[in-house]
């Protein structure tokens, strides 16, 4: 088990991503953040704070649960259903640029589900993908626009993002074996 990002590194990385977002979009006008449950939501809220510090403007922030859009739902004849949590997007995504935020980009299947879910809320101008860690092994043609850290991994390794809000500490851990 190795710590690949500590609290300082995560904080600096998120600040850097916030600056990249402002640079690429020439400000934050028309932007909105949508975090993928669970940890993507906390990362989105932190990015909203950074964006406010940089530009003084508030960026609307929402939470997306992708469970009902998963491509492995109902694939097995029987099995307990994954837990569904609430989606909270209290603004119209029509004609906005949406920054979709997740903790780890791996196969790309979660992102595919998130894109389908978002499109059911309206027609955004564009969707940009923000991830804290890109660990490779894509199974779908999906690429992140903002990457905190590129982390080469083996398939049998797992990447665990721990955040203060859910886990009591800020840390990214690379583990041998075990579930991702």
């Amino acid at each position: 088990m190795a710590v690949v990002m500590d609290a300082d590194r995560i904080a600096r990385t998120l600040t850097r991503i916030a600056h990249e977002i402002v640079e690429r979009n020439k400000g934050v006008e028309g932007l909105a953040l949508v975090g993928v449950r669970t940890r993507g939501v906390h990362l989105a809220r932190r990015l909203a704070r950074s964006l406010r510090e940089i530009t003084g403007d508030e960026v609307p922030t929402g939470a997306l649960d992708i469970t009902l859009y998963r491509d492995d739902l109902m694939r097995h004849a029987v099995g307990p259903q994954p837990l569904v949590r609430s989606t909270e997007i209290a603004f119209s995504i029509d004609n906005r640029k949406i920054l979709l935020v997740d903790d780890v980009l791996y196969t790309g299947r979660t992102t595919r589900a998130a894109l389908d879910a978002l499109i059911d809320f309206g027609r955004p101008l564009a969707i940009q993908l923000v991830v804290l860690v890109d660990r490779g092994h894509r199974e779908l043609p999906i690429k992140a626009d903002y990457v905190g850290k590129n982390l080469p991994t083996a398939a049998e390794e797992s990447v665990q993002v721990c955040l203060q809000e859910t886990d009591g500490r800020d840390e990214v851990i690379l583990q041998q074996g075990g579930a991702a």
């Binding site: 669970t38 837990l83 609430s86």
Partner: protein, 327 residues
């Protein structure tokens, strides 16, 4: 007995799946399973507020709505819930089915089964009809009301509506007034509310109070003012004339005079009392119009929440029973 009734969004609930193939009644459910259904329904309710009210969760699943008794609310509610989850739905009403030609319930069910549905939602006039199908069918059976036995999704939507307003179920005084004897809604609600720690009072004419109802952990009375006093929730039950095979009380007018819920009677309840009715209402019999349409009434919220609760049940049961998953 009490259970966590509010779950923070990041908390992992005590159970994450239903450990059963069918939903036959509330009696078999644990408080944790009830909390899971209610929490899942919170997420499902949001889907109804979207511009596109549909998620792909049950794509490719077939659900048969088999209704042997008239129903508008429950059947429509199940059908909307199934469609919002992208299931294929099939409605079979008794008047147009082979039942009128003399086919038995078991034969009807087995013939439907041969067409490979995944779930059957059953309403039937006989108590235990769902249990019978549960034993002979591979499909998941959801009880949409069986005789005078249970109507589990009604009790779940009632609990969801109460929890939405009061943020809890434990410790609330709930008065249920009306035709207790013939009501499956009452039986499901008693099981659910007592499991979740509510203080349940039931009230009706002595002829309509089932013998031994106190054994279910509720207090029974025929004095309506006693039941309503300081109640957080007053739930009215329909006088089910179609199930009555005798004279249980002199007249509907007299019933209204003694038990009908009027504004004057309601003053004894708590100032933030909720008025509930599972429908269909008999205005001027169990409930006065000014109460049904008044500010305390959540009767239409109940109908709206029914869709979300049924979506939660359909979704959770679609995974199958846990013991089968291990096999």
């Amino acid at each position: 007995m009490s259970a966590p009734v509010t779950t923070r969004i990041d908390d992992t609930p005590a159970v994450t799946s239903l450990r059963r193939k069918d939903l036959l009644g509330i009696a078999e459910l644990t408080p944790e399973e009830i909390a899971l259904i209610l929490d899942t329904a919170v997420a499902m309710k949001e889907i109804g507020s979207r511009p596109i009210k549909k998620v792909p969760a049950l794509r490719g699943k077939t659900v048969v709505n088999l209704f042997f008794e008239p129903s508008t609310r429950t059947r429509t509610s199940f059908e909307i819930a199934e469609k919002r989850l992208s299931a294929d739905t099939l409605n079979i009403a008794i008047a147009t089915s082979s039942v009128v030609k003399g086919e038995t319930l078991a034969d009807t069910a087995l013939n439907l089964e041969a067409m490979q549905p995944d779930m059957i939602v059953l309403r039937h006039a006989s108590s235990g009809a769902c249990h019978l199908l549960s034993r002979i069918c591979r499909s998941a059976i959801i009880n949409a009301g069986d005789g005078m036995h249970e109507h589990p999704t009604q009790a779940l939507l009632d609990a969801f509506t109460i929890r939405e307003r009061k943020q809890r179920l434990a410790g609330l005084k709930v008065a249920i007034v009306g035709d207790l004897l013939h009501s499956r809604v009452l039986r499901s609600n008693i099981h659910l509310l007592t499991k979740m720690g509510a203080d349940v009072w039931v009230c009706g004419p002595p002829t309509l109070i089932p013998a031994g109802i106190g054994r279910f952990g509720v207090r029974a009375t025929s004095v309506v003012d006693e039941a309503v006093a300081d109640a957080d929730v007053v739930m009215l039950l329909r006088i089910q004339l179609e199930r009555m095979e005798g004279a249980y009380f002199p007249s509907l007018r007299e019933y209204f005079t003694v038990f009908g819920m009027t504004e004057a009677r309601l003053r004894r309840a708590r100032p933030d009392v909720m008025i509930m009715h599972p429908g269909p209402m008999n205005r001027g019999v169990e409930i006065a119009s000014e109460v049904a349409d008044g500010p305390y009434s959540v009767i239409l919220d109940q109908v709206a929440n029914g869709v979300a609760v049924r979506m939660a049940v359909l979704y959770l049961l679609a995974g199958g029973a846990e013991h089968e998953a291990a096999a």
